[in-house]
């Protein structure tokens, strides 16, 4: 990925390597907040916001602290700590300074603390040895991809609630089946970039 241009990185992260449908990370919010379009949109926005910030911060931590001190093996635990603190900080900051944004994203922020899609995306950025700017773009791409999949899925699920689904398949089961079908559809983006 490190040889790609910025535009290609974005396209690749949104479609080809979609964090939800190709990497299957972040399943909990994917199923949990996709029952209604409004919450899906709120969640998507929150992820875009946090993932870009987390991408930047983890890149700095990795390249300026972990690598020089030879502590690369602490990556996962350090990232978890930093992301959690970051989200809390952002929540405090928004509440005071941008209450409008807080009202919109409010309840989704704490949910992201434990979102593996965020951690996963940061780790992928490092593994792919991206430069700082590129990892920002990649984080943004991953986040948009997450949002896209979530919103698509919410749209489908809103329709599903109205359909007559056999009892044993209702709710999460049919949700997972549908997610699988959407993932298959996304599979066709493979090889695009």
């Amino acid at each position: 990925m490190s040889e790609m241009g910025y535009f290609q990185i974005i396209i690749s992260c949104i479609f080809v390597n979609n964090i939800l449908l190709a990497k299957f990370l972040g399943n909990c919010p994917f199923l949990g907040t996709s029952r209604k379009m409004e919450t899906a949109v709120g969640m998507a926005m929150a992820v875009v916001f946090v993932l870009v910030l987390a991408g930047a911060i983890t890149w700095i931590i990795y390249h300026y602290f972990l690598v020089p001190f030879d502590l690369v093996y602490l990556r996962t635990i350090a990232f978890i700590l930093v992301i959690a603190a970051l989200v809390q900080f952002v929540e405090l900051f928004l509440k005071k300074s941008i209450p409008v944004l807080y009202a919109g994203l409010g309840i989704f922020l704490p949910l992201i603390t434990t979102n593996c899609a965020v951690l996963g995306a940061c780790v992928i950025n490092i593994d792919e040895e991206l430069s700082f700017m590129k990892s920002l773009f990649a984080s943004f791409g991953f986040a948009v991809g997450f949002g896209l999949a979530l919103i698509l899925f919410a749209g489908v699920r809103e329709r599903i609630t109205l359909a007559r689904v056999p009892k044993p398949l209702q709710d999460t089961s049919i949700g997972l089946v549908t997610a699988g079908l959407i993932a298959l559809a996304f599979f066709s983006f493979n090889g695009m970039v």
């Binding site: 602490l74 700590l81 809390q88 900080f89 900051f93 409010g106 309840i107 109205l162």
Partner: protein
């Protein structure tokens, strides 16, 4: 090993320090009650309440924007706990309930035949569904599957039925319905709804100036649910006893049955249920929204003022009615005579309205005892002017001020005041040879009153013919039965008196009908040289009346800023919004339209109440985008109606003529329960275009 340990410790310390500093720097005071309230919510962050999560909902409760029972997933106990934190009564908050606004269902005719589609959403996207009716229920029950509280089921008629006890007002049904049939509303929102072009309503409801849901109350009568019928009428009209007696029922003119048969006798059924309540010995409870603390002054306690006050009170505002005369009712007390609307009945009706907690200040006249400035100083947030039309028009002929000449409103009000013990000691003068000029309700009420007071010869002189008379048809017929003479096509030109100044003769010109004028009635033109005279000893002119706006000149504010039209009615830029040229003054009834009907005044009062509510709650005062107002929805008005089997309309029972002309006892009587049931079965239960056929 040590580096790793120190690194992690350092990182943890850094994060901790940063967060503690941030929580100090970015501290926002949060009402501790928010956390308490949130503790009682179901904590599912389900968003069913419409807020983004429990904490947002809790904040809304504490801010007073949401009721204690906002959490759709928590039970009644939680609501009670939340209410206790907030120090309010959980019952006072207005519940939001779901309503189905289509009652067509399976009886609606089909247009297309679909196979293997089983959701309304899908059907709606493909040619809009199978029914002939474009706005009707599609009947697959998307709303039923969307409701997670099991409050909806598809009824036997093929449209959803709401279980009010289970419904929490989450609005899931409203969001999925592709035809916008499901609506969630509070009582206040329902009371303020005005007929709109996209509503599913019967022709009668479209035509009723008060917009009563007529088919609904008739169906309730059919089921024997008289209390329900009264409540349905009261959602639009607080004066059902009065309207049941005096309304000329414009709704019946547009009744769908009336196209092929005699119209349903809608108004007699209203009177039946209204009388049923009065005679039942109790008053059916009328719910009001929690108090808002806003104060409104209603000037004039006629039908318009009473209606406006009633609706404002039900919306939770504090209302005071100020009126120039001792008792409330306006023209229906001081104009409409006892034999049509007994004062006892009227008093019972008005008491029910005042019992909601409305204050009445009698004997206070705007312009004489108080003015708008003093009202605003007393802390009222808005003023309603429902001062009616009490100033008689003059004939403008020579001799109309001779002794024995009166005007219609003056005569009727003086007599009513005397009869109720508030006027002169002596009974007002009554002649033996009386002529009343005019063709409206006032003229007819004058002649029928005179007959009851013992006048020997009473006649009406009118410029046009019977067909053009604006009075209620039943009144004209009753007057004929009571022996009133009618002289049509006669225009008074002069009143001739004797030496003592008493009127003795009326001179008039004969007329013939010419071209139709602006009102569509043929204009009478005089026949040259056809002067004739009639002997009289009393003359009453009742040729119409307009509002008396003398108070305008008594106040600098009103004189400069309050616009009146050239008919002296209070000018409102929009006949639906009814806001005058001074933003906090509203009007309605006869003072906005000129002399009209009781029902129109009631409708005007409700429209004004809606605007006042918007004004004092800080909204912009506008009419709804698609108001129907006096129009009809074209597709709902038919040329011919299929499936009707003729059946006779219930006759109105009356007191025999020779009995009724001797007293002021009520002349028109109420129908029996069997007759009401029979009549209710004549109703086709129309919706916009579908209806129940008599024969398939």
């Amino acid at each position: 090993m040590y580096t790793a340990l120190f690194f992690m410790l350092g990182l943890g310390f850094l994060c901790g320090a940063m967060l503690s500093i941030a929580s100090k720097v970015f501290y926002v005071y949060e009402d501790p009650r928010i956390a308490e309230v949130e503790g009682f919510m179901a904590a599912g962050n389900c968003g069913g309440c419409g807020y983004t999560g429990c904490s947002a909902a809790a904040a809304a409760v504490v801010a007073g924007k949401a009721p204690p029972r906002v959490c759709v997933a928590a039970d009644a106990e939680a609501a009670a706990n939340i209410a206790a934190i907030m120090g309010v009564d959980p019952g006072t908050a207005e519940a939001i309930l779901s309503y189905n606004t289509c009652t067509g269902g399976n009886r609606a005719a089909d247009k297309y035949f679909y196979t293997s589609i089983n959701s309304c959403q899908a059907l709606a996207t493909i040619y809009g569904g199978k029914r002939e009716c474009e706005v009707g229920c599609l009947g697959f029950g998307d709303c039923v599957s969307a409701c997670i509280f099991n409050a909806l089921k598809l009824g036997p008629e093929g449209y959803p039925v709401v279980d009010d006890i289970k419904c929490v007002g989450c609005g899931a049904c409203e969001r999925v319905c592709p035809k916008d049939i499901m609506e969630i509303k509070t009582m206040s929102q329902r009371l303020l709804h005005l007929n709109q072009f996209d509503d599913r309503i019967a022709p009668c409801q479209q035509t009723c100036p008060a917009e009563i849901d007529i088919p609904k109350y008739i169906s309730q009568i059919k089921k024997g649910d008289y209390e329900g019928a009264v409540n349905t009428i009261r959602e639009r009209n607080p004066l059902l006893l009065s309207c049941g007696r005096v309304c000329p029922h414009p709704c019946e003119d547009k009744c769908r049955r009336g196209i092929e048969d005699e119209a349903v006798s809608i108004n007699q059924m209203k009177r039946f249920v209204a009388d049923y309540e009065m005679n039942s010995g109790r008053r059916f409870p009328i719910p009001c929204a929690p108090s808002t603390g806003k104060k409104v002054a209603v000037v004039g306690g006629g039908p318009a003022g009473l209606s406006c006050a009633y609706f404002l009170r039900r919306l939770g505002h504090d209302v005071t009615i100020l009126d120039a005369v001792p008792m409330l009712g306006g023209m229906i007390r001081y104009g409409i005579p006892e034999y049509r609307l007994p004062k006892e009945v009227l008093a019972w009706e008005i008491q029910g309205i005042l019992d909601l907690g409305i204050e009445h200040k009698p004997n206070l006249m705007l312009g004489r005892d108080f003015d708008v400035e003093s009202l605003m100083k007393d802390g009222y947030d808005a003023v309603f002017l429902g001062i009616g039309a009490w100033k008689d028009f003059n004939l403008g002929v020579e001799g109309e001020n001779l002794k024995g000449c009166y005007t219609g409103i003056d005569f009727l009000t003086n007599f009513a005041l005397w009869q109720q013990g508030d006027g002169a000691e002596e009974q007002p003068f009554v002649g033996q040879k009386c002529v009343v000029i005019g063709g409206g309700n006032t003229a007819i009420d004058c002649v029928r009153t005179l007959v009851r007071l013992g006048s020997k010869e009473v006649s009406i002189v009118y410029r046009r013919t019977l067909k053009e008379m604006p009075a209620n048809m039943v009144e004209i017929e009753a007057a004929e039965h009571e022996g009133i003479q009618f002289t049509f096509l006669a225009a008074p030109t002069r009143v001739i008196g004797d030496e003592e100044g008493n009127a003795t003769r009326l001179e008039y010109l004969k007329m013939e009908l010419g071209e139709p004028d602006a009102s569509g009635r043929r204009r009478p033109v005089p026949i040259e040289g056809s002067e004739s005279t009639i002997d009289i000893d009393m003359l009453i002119t009742a040729i119409g009346q307009g509002p008396d706006v003398f108070f305008k000149d008594e106040s600098k504010l009103l004189a400069e800023d309050l616009n009146v039209t050239r008919w002296n009615t209070i000018d409102s830029a929009d006949p639906v919004a009814l806001q005058s040229s001074i933003p906090y003054i509203f009007t309605g009834g006869d003072s906005a339209t000129g002399a009209a009907l009781v029902v129109s005044a009631i409708g005007g009062g409700r429209r004004a109440a809606r605007s006042i509510h918007m004004y004092i709650t800080g909204e912009e005062v506008t009419p709804p985008a698609k108001t129907l107002f006096t129009d009809n929805i074209p597709v709902s008005i038919f040329e011919s109606v299929e499936g009707i089997e003729k059946s006779a309309r219930t006759k109105m029972p009356e007191l025999p003529v020779d009995e009724r002309i001797k007293s002021f006892d009520e002349a028109d009587l109420v129908i029996t329960e069997e007759e009401a049931l029979y009549e209710s079965n004549r109703c086709l239960q129309c919706c916009l275009i579908c209806y129940n056929k008599d024969v398939a």
